[in-house]
Symmetry: C2
């Protein structure tokens, strides 16, 4: 019972050792993260197409639920850029059809995502996320970053634009360019430039003028807040909102409301695939942040328990007026750097945000949307990494193809199509590669017991014996390739009496490959050629022994390739023909 | 030029060495195959839902085209059971919607299938067929055999029934059971029993009464023709067709007509997936027959050229009033056994069938459909192989799951859904298996340089060194698993200073795995642990050298695991802690 509790509720472990010193560290981290999160939460709500308060609500209950069920001690859960974009893309398509409000559909999306994550955690299905290869993730994040940045240009310029992929967005932006509001554009461009400088140049400048490293770091992290405050004051002082500068406006002063997602089987059917993709992408982003931070303190992350933590967080978001959330990179790093020791830091952040939601929302009334857009643009452009194209090109052409296809399809068709196609393509490319394995004909290096590729080394061979080494496990996708290979090698060479398969690199033989081996054995028998195996691994041999193959095998199974070559050569008294 | 000709037109090779003796062998085979094919062609047309003459037409031009372009010397191309069933399933769904005639849609299906096969051959895409694993094929053929046999019960009993899956068929059959025509049922059951006996019991009986083996064999193969003749005579003599026994009736006396499939983009869109599946299934069936027969004479089969041969045959079927065709098992074996030496035997068979189409169709006027149905039932039940369930269960549970799912889904949802789901499932199971590779912690066997699993062997280890052997190539699906494994092993053990990855079984490292190795290296570095590699294969090392990984690696790359263990242990002057 206790073990089960400790397994599924990690708070029971760290909660028992909570000291005053830990409290102080956690509290400090919480204050810093709270200040950073207020504008960020509003911005991501804007990106997801939701009212600003939804961003705050999505950062409160989910943090607490993750603190109870998650295994990472520094992960900060809440709205993040890519998931907010995916939310906007999923809801944009849906609410035009179904007769459900946009915010209500967002609750449903978070709820579905929570249930999917919980189910994956309970049934230990976290491996599904492994099918997202790194090239696909890198391509997807890069393309999403570009789409997000582009989608925010309308707020920077004060014009209208729609679309969830690059083509639609650019078309929409260019055709509305005449609507540009110059005051908004000035604020937007200035805020963007300022935020870039805060990110890149503030810390070195402060260090140069003698500020200590920690203080300079905190100032650089809190920098965006200054930009927020400054532009808000500007808009308020000069009454710019009456000149067409769009502002956040009135945000209800309230704790997160208790909400229930609208239960409609039609809506569920429409949101299921987006919710699944959001869950997987969110999980992958979250787990890689969590593992990076955990390694720094030699802590362990349990991926299946992480699914439960994130699932609980999303269910909480769904019940408290939020939208899909996950562990964010920037907020988690800030939390970690600011000294968070336990998930309690997250809970204190939640309290801070709750206070903000109740008391501070009037302060953001005059906050221009252009500033929020600038915050988003600066944050997401750091995700854009075209270097992956070069790195993958140098390393492997098939990985490059997967990156390129994912970027291209995400930009042109949107996030869901892009990531789905990327996953499909990387699976196909992997199967294709292993469907044409490297098969080397090997010969003996004179004076040794080693066998090497006859094309690369000077080796001795017997014209009556063909020794082949397959550098891949044998399974359905390459079974027939092996059949073709052997048939082609032997049918054209009347000298051959023995074929030896050296099985050093064969980690598995599935039923298809077994039946192919049976067919090869039988066909070689028809040609009066014997089939032998050498150096078969233990687990592979165990499986072969469960089948009839070894009984039907015309030749033998040898422990080493050398023994096999010796034994087959010894079958003849006359010297080998030339 | 000549080489290209020889490559794409195999007839140019064997045609030059054609002798009188070869002609005699080919002619003899052609006569036997023609006699066997007449009722079979009519029966498969019936199964595909087409008029009987379509079966004859589909056996004439395609045989000649395959003779020109195919590489197998004994393969006989024409309508086969499974492809005919798939044709019926594809057209049944379509022609209810599109305003195109059933026979016209069949031409389009054959044409599409031909174009797909030709394209696969020209672009050397034959490997696509490899994704059909043997368990999926076995399950699919077994389930298809059951569906076909059930679908023919309506002809045996003289009732109406519809459906392309087991559920629909059985529902339809039982609800119409009251319509049963007892004369038809008597003929049908008797013909079925008689054909079973011909197949199993005739040859031994003839041998017992002193008939020579060849004659007995030919008699057994020709047996079905006697049943056809006998039941036709019965129906004619006693005028049974006026008592409700359904007969083939009037078949036009004509050479295959010149036909053009109806060109409609809507129809193409609807038939594309079925045509693709028919092409793949047909190719797989054909190539395995061709390879089995070729091996008996040490001949070579070129799979890509086979695609071109089958593609040309299907285009021919489409232009001459046929429907999708492929290389059939039973007809090819009969052709081979009867002594066919070259594809010319097929051409002579085509001439024989053309004569039959022009002159002999009045003879089948009174042939009862029940007899044709009995021919089909007896033929397809030999395809049903429930033994695959037992064999796969014994050999591997995941192969068993693929068989079971394919059989179940084919029976309940139909052929297209069944085979698609089977392929998807076997790919997922394969990826799942390789996503959780066997990772053994290894130690040194005392007095040797061999390292073995510490759980299975008595070995010595150093508490500061963890040596892990991964029995699988590293790629995206298992990259994160390796990260988790190493992090979990090291995070909990403060003694560890070195991790050595023994790479004996790693045939490939893709970009995802490379980035995981980089992350592992960095995280271990955070824990003050060094990462080393040992026994990296040449091609893998070549790729690693193209990346930054080796420069960032905190440890070294060792030629052997023994060297790695020696070097890491030598780093310490003090004895290892206990």
């Amino acid at each position: 019972m206790t073990d089960t509790l400790l397994r599924y509720v990690p708070i029971a472990t760290w909660g028992r050792n909570y000291t005053r010193a830990t409290f102080a560290s956690d509290m400090m981290a919480a204050v810093i993260v709270t200040i950073m999160l207020i504008p960020q939460s509003l911005a991501y709500a804007l990106l997801a197409g939701l009212p600003p308060e939804a961003g705050l609500y999505a950062s409160i209950a989910p943090i607490i639920l993750y603190a109870i069920f998650g295994t990472s001690r520094a992960l900060a859960v809440g709205p993040v850029a890519v998931v907010s974009l995916m939310t906007a893309a999923a809801l944009g398509d849906i609410t035009q059809q179904a007769g459900v409000g946009y915010a209500a559909a967002a609750l449903m999306l978070a709820g579905l995502s929570g249930v999917i994550l919980l189910a994956m955690g309970l049934f230990r299905l976290g491996f599904i996320a492994n099918f997202l290869s790194h090239p696909v993730i890198a391509g997807f994040i890069t393309a999403s970053g570009l789409i997000i940045a582009t989608s925010q240009l309308k707020h920077i310029l004060g014009i209208e634009a729609q679309g969830h992929n690059m083509l639609d967005l650019l078309t929409s932006l260019t055709s509305n360019l005449h609507q540009i509001n110059w005051i908004t554009a000035t604020i937007g461009v200035a805020a963007t430039a300022c935020l870039f400088w805060v990110r890149k140049g503030l810390k070195p400048t402060l260090r140069r003028v003698g500020v200590g490293p920690t203080a300079a770091d905190i100032a650089a992290k809190a920098g965006p807040v200054f930009v927020v405050v400054l532009t808000t004051l500007l808009v308020w002082r000069f009454d710019l909102s009456t000149h067409g500068v769009k502002i956040v406006g009135s945000v209800p002063q309230s704790l997160p409301p208790l909400t229930l997602p609208p239960v409609s089987s039609e809506l569920v059917a429409q949101l299921l695939l987006p919710a699944f993709l959001i869950s997987i992408i969110g999980f992958v982003e979250s787990i890689s942040v969590a593992q990076t931070l955990a390694a720094k303190k030699r802590q362990r992350i349990d991926p299946d328990q992480e699914l439960i933590g994130l699932g609980a967080a999303n269910v909480a978001a769904s019940l408290t007026g939020g939208f899909p959330v996950t562990g964010g990179f920037s907020r988690s790093v800030v939390n970690f750097d600011a000294g968070a020791q336990t998930p309690a830091a997250g809970a204190y952040t939640a309290v801070g945000l709750a206070i903000a939601a109740v008391g501070l929302t009037p302060l953001v009334f005059f906050l221009p949307k252009a500033t929020l857009a600038a915050t988003i643009i600066v944050a997401v452009l750091s995700l854009v990494d075209f270097g992956i194209l070069k790195r993958s090109w140098q390393y492997s052409k098939s990985d490059f193809a997967a990156v390129l296809a994912t970027i291209f399809l995400t930009l042109t068709l949107g996030v869901e199509a892009g990531v789905s196609a990327g996953v499909g393509l990387s699976i196909l490319l992997h199967l294709y590669k292993s469907s044409r394995p490297h098969i080397a004909e090997v010969g003996l290096i004179k004076g040794t017991e080693h066998f090497r590729n006859i094309l690369r080394h000077s080796v001795t061979t017997d014209p009556r014996v063909v020794s082949l080494r397959v550098d891949e496990s044998l399974y359905f996708a390459n079974a027939r390739f092996l059949e073709d290979c052997i048939q082609n090698r032997v049918a054209g060479d009347p000298h051959v009496r023995h074929v030896i398969l050296q099985c050093t690199a064969i980690n598995e033989i599935d039923l298809s490959a077994l039946e192919s081996l049976e067919a090869i054995n039988e066909r070689l028998h028809e040609m009066n050629v014997k089939l032998h195996l050498s150096e078969v691994k233990g687990p592979v041999m165990d499986k072969l022994e469960k089948s009839h193959f070894l009984a039907e095998l015309t030749g033998q199974v040898f422990l080493t390739q050398y023994e096999a070559a010796q034994a087959t050569a010894a079958n003849y008294s006359e010297p080998p023909k030339q």
